[in-house]
């Protein structure tokens, strides 16, 4: 069953991400719990999709939230919202895991894994589009793309492959892959901007 857990907040209303991050800086573990309740599920869904292994996904998600706890001072709400920052960090971690799995002989380099995502800017931070609606929009958009184009974007995002790696994996010409990905991302941007307006 699909169940969401909501952490009650003493004031009876949900604090914003900015307030929670401020509290995180003051070492308030309740703020981390509230952020986990808010983002744990989409972050876990993303990581599980990339790692394809529940116990590994669990470890990665734990790692992501511990990193959030430890690096709260490196996040600036003025530079962008928390959600994409968190998604980017989770994706980086999960792709690190995937690459390690592919190249077992290489040892994990702390400097790579500790890289925090750079600033992200949401075009309309005040937009009142909830995550479910955005998810529906994005799934619908990907579903509307030709299968091969959708596959190319998924290989890039969920498996961390580059243009030439995708071309090799799919047997398509490099130019075709570039064109598919560029076109798909353009449509994604337009769709999100349209949803934000």
């Amino acid at each position: 069953m699909l169940l969401a857990v909501v952490q009650p907040w003493p004031e009876g209303k949900q604090p914003t991400d900015a307030v929670l991050m401020e509290r995180l800086l003051q070492r308030d573990s309740g703020a981390l719990e509230a952020l986990y309740d808010r983002y744990g599920r989409p972050v876990y869904s993303l990581v599980l999709r990339i790692a394809q292994h529940p116990s590994s996904a669990e470890e990665i998600v734990q790692d992501v939230f511990l990193q959030l706890w430890r690096s709260a001072d490196r996040f600036q709400i003025s530079r962008g919202p928390l959600e994409p920052w968190l998604f980017t960090m989770a994706r980086n971690r999960a792709l690190d895991f995937l690459r390690l799995k592919r190249e077992k002989q290489r040892r994990r380099e702390d400097s790579d894994s500790d890289i925090l995502p750079s600033a992200v800017v949401r075009p309309d931070p005040e937009g009142d589009i909830d995550r479910t609606r955005r998810a529906e929009k994005i799934r619908a958009l990907l579903g509307s793309l030709p299968e091969a184009q959708r596959r190319a974007i998924e290989l890039a995002f969920f498996e961390g492959l580059s243009h030439s790696e995708i071309a090799a994996a799919t047997g398509e010409a490099l130019g075709t892959i570039k064109s598919w990905i560029r076109g798909g991302l353009l449509r994604l941007r337009e769709s999100l901007e349209e949803a934000s307006s």
Partner: protein, 269 residues
């Protein structure tokens, strides 16, 4: 060298991590020396790309994960609830000149203080335990409420005169039948009883098969502890474009396309 405007179409590809070779080097060199418009363009592209995360099939994290994370930060000793280190008093230069009665009084005070601190710690532990229990009860209540909401939605779809009832027949005759109700606005509701338990690494995935094209994922789900399924999931195409609904057994997290034979299926049109 290209300018900001010429490089702008590459921002999303850069954020996605697919750019390589000269294109990547050129963009990075440009960003290193570029002004705000380019840097902010890449930041916007990162937001766009990050939203692809929402395309991942919805999955519920294990219920113990939240506790593990909180235990980990407490184990590190950097939780806000941790007791602040007590500053060591500087040795007094007058110490040797203290009379005996002062030492006895200080020792007695230390004993009383120690006892009081211990009592306070016990009370704090009890309080923390109570908070934990309250939190658990709140989570359980919320879970039950969510379940109730889901059951209500399922009932609404099932009872709507606009819904098309479908029977997803099992390929394995030992499996129970899955009932589906396709509503033009509310999506598809599916229900089943006496479903066998699934291994933790597997999930069931519901697909609709369009009249032309490949199956499209609708939802991933697992039977509950009682072997029951009750959920509603959105379907973003009109019923007359759907040829069938099918359920397959997939790795946890779901698959972009079915990887195992169809386990249940119902023709729509």
């Amino acid at each position: 060298m290209r300018n900001c405007e010429q490089l702008a179409p590459l921002y999303e590809e850069y954020a996605l991590g697919v750019l390589e070779g000269e294109e990547r080097a050129e963009l990075e060199a440009h960003l290193a020396s570029a002004g705000d418009p380019c840097v902010s363009g890449v930041a916007q592209a990162r937001w766009v790309v990050s939203q692809l995360a929402l395309a991942a099939p919805d999955a519920q994290p294990p219920s113990a994960l939240r506790g593990k994370i909180m235990d980990a930060i407490k184990a590190n000793g950097d939780s806000a609830r941790a007791v602040a280190p007590i500053e060591k008093p500087k040795p007094s230069k007058q110490g040797a000149m203290f009379p005996l009665w002062a030492w006895i009084a200080a020792a007695a005070l230390a004993l009383v203080t120690g006892y009081t601190i211990r009592q306070m710690n016990n009370q704090n532990d009890q309080l923390a335990q109570l908070r934990k229990q309250m939190k658990l009860a709140t989570m359980q209540n919320q879970a039950l409420q969510n379940q109730l909401d889901m059951d209500r939605m399922v009932a609404m779809v099932m009872m709507s005169p606009d819904s098309i009832p479908l029977k997803l027949m099992p390929k394995d005759k030992n499996m129970p039948m899955v009932h589906a109700y396709l509503h033009p606005q509310m999506g598809v509701a599916i229900t089943a009883d006496q479903m066998p338990a699934l291994p933790s690494a597997r999930t069931l995935q519901l697909w609709f098969v369009p009249k032309s094209g490949k199956p499209v994922s609708v939802a991933i789900f697992r039977p509950d502890a009682m072997g029951q399924i009750a959920l509603v999931a959105p379907v973003n195409v009109p019923a007359n474009e759907i040829a069938a609904f099918a359920v397959t057994d997939e790795p946890a997290g779901g698959s972009p396309q079915p990887t195992t034979p169809i386990a249940w299926m119902a023709q729509v049109n």
